[in-house]
């Protein structure tokens, strides 16, 4: 058993590059999905039925489709529309589009629950448009949605493991290739599990820091 972990240790470069791919992929798509979510959330709350129904259809549709099947559709579907991307970019696109729907729904929920008074006070003080959003609406919104966004980021990390099926060299793929070359399944995959756990604990620590900041401001 110790010997097996020795083999995994000797392949640490591969495993670490897998971990880096998982972390970078998840971080990039979390940020991109959050930004897209900020565009989609107002669309969900739009007073124009065409806009709100289209946004609602996209968001509810994504929430009902398994990510793995969505990744397959993107992987095989993009080329038929003449879009040729490498596996890494395809994976990033799939993760981002899929999670944008979840982020939009999270932001909408937090937005609706925000008290009206500070926004009205902001308008009374002459804030409008982008400045109103950035200075008055955004900070409390991010603080109150923080924990749920953190949960979604953990979900993104776990979803990124599915991309191993399109041969994207992320953490699970690295563990898989170590196990297939050296036949050390337990050592290889349990190491991957611990690395995923570590990533998630980092995010949870970040979320609880945000929670403390939010409490301090209250």
């Amino acid at each position: 058993m110790i010997h097996d972990f020795g083999i995994v240790w000797s392949e640490r470069a591969l495993l670490l590059s897998g971990l880096a791919n998982t972390a970078i992929l998840s971080a990039l798509s979390a940020v991109a999905a959050l930004l897209l979510g900020f565009l989609l959330a107002p669309a969900l709350m739009s007073k124009k039925p065409v806009v709100s129904w289209t946004a609602r259809g996209f968001v509810d549709g994504m929430r009902c489709v398994p990510f793995l099947l969505f990744a397959y559709i993107v992987y095989y579907g993009f080329p038929t529309f003449g879009v040729r991307l490498d596996n890494w970019t395809t994976g990033l696109a799939a993760l981002t589009i899929y999670n944008a729907a979840y982020m939009a729904e999270i932001l909408r929920g937090a937005w609706v629950a925000q008290p009206r008074e500070p926004i009205e006070a902001g308008i009374a003080f002459g804030f409008s448009g982008i400045r109103l959003f950035r200075r008055i609406i955004l900070p409390p919104l991010l603080l109150s949605a923080g924990p749920v966004i953190g949960n979604q980021m953990i979900q993104i990390i776990k979803d990124s493991a599915f991309l191993t099926i399109i041969a994207l060299p992320e953490l699970t793929h690295a563990a898989s290739s170590i196990q297939s070359r050296h036949y050390v399944p337990f050592a290889a995959f349990i190491t991957a599990v611990f690395l995923y756990w570590g990533l998630c604990l980092v995010i949870e620590a970040g979320v609880s820091t945000i929670g403390r900041v939010a409490d301090a401001r209250r």
């Binding site: 489709v65 493991a161 337990f186 599990v193």
Partner: protein, 215 residues
């Protein structure tokens, strides 16, 4: 894609649905058991459950499934794809269900429990007659939510060779050189199932809100 291909995908759907149902039926009581261990704060066992839940919640189902499927036979436990799939689903969903049950237990009013004690109910009776019926109601939306999450990760089971919806779709795509149509059929099967569960969850939540408002 022929009619036979579509039939093959539906046959896969049967496998997907049965495995999900088995996973849910076994995972839910195990989750409750784990939650009770933490609630009762059993020495040694409670921290172990906490670590188990934290770790399982952070582990992607693919990774867990590959670990079980390749590592268990290695230590002398023979495992076919279907058992590996059920084991992985149960381990995964029991960890998530544990958190749902636990939050219901944490919010359970203590005075009711003490009232049951004062009328002389034994521990088992207190749990079965006073605690369980109420925490089931409180946990229901969360449990249904976990069910829809579980169904959404089932395509992963195809990775170890379970012939489910996804495996059937992949095979047809490889045979016809047209991968998109079978995946669209697969999605068309998943969407109504997940949508029904999501609607069920919203309906339960709405009913509970109106019931609370009426009370």
């Amino acid at each position: 894609m022929s009619g036979g291909d579509i039939a093959a995908i539906f046959q896969g759907a049967l496998v997907t649905v049965s495995l999900s149902v088995i996973g849910i039926l076994i995972g839910m009581p195990i989750g409750l058991g784990l939650a009770l261990v933490r609630w009762a704060n059993l020495p040694v066992a409670a921290p172990m459950v906490a670590v188990y839940v934290s770790m399982l919640r952070a582990t992607p189902l693919v990774t867990l499934l590959l670990l079980l499927f390749f590592a268990l036979p290695n230590i002398g436990v023979p495992l076919d794809p279907v058992s590996a799939a059920i084991l992985a689903l149960v381990m995964n969903t029991s960890a998530f269900n544990c958190e749902v049950w636990r939050s219901a237990l944490m919010n359970f009013p203590k005075d009711q429990y003490e009232a049951a004690q004062s009328v002389g109910m034994r521990a088992g009776q207190r749990f079965r007659r006073i605690v369980l019926p109420q925490i089931v109601l409180v946990s229901l939306p969360g449990l249904v939510n976990e069910m829809s999450l579980l169904i959404k990760v089932t395509p992963v089971l195809a990775v170890v060779g379970v012939v489910d919806i996804t495996r059937a779709a992949v095979r047809i795509g490889a045979e016809t050189y047209e991968p998109l149509p079978p995946f669209l059929v697969a999605i068309a099967i998943y969407v109504p199932i997940v949508f029904a569960l999501v609607s069920l969850q919203r309906w339960i939540e709405r009913r509970q809100v109106t019931a609370e408002a009426a009370a």
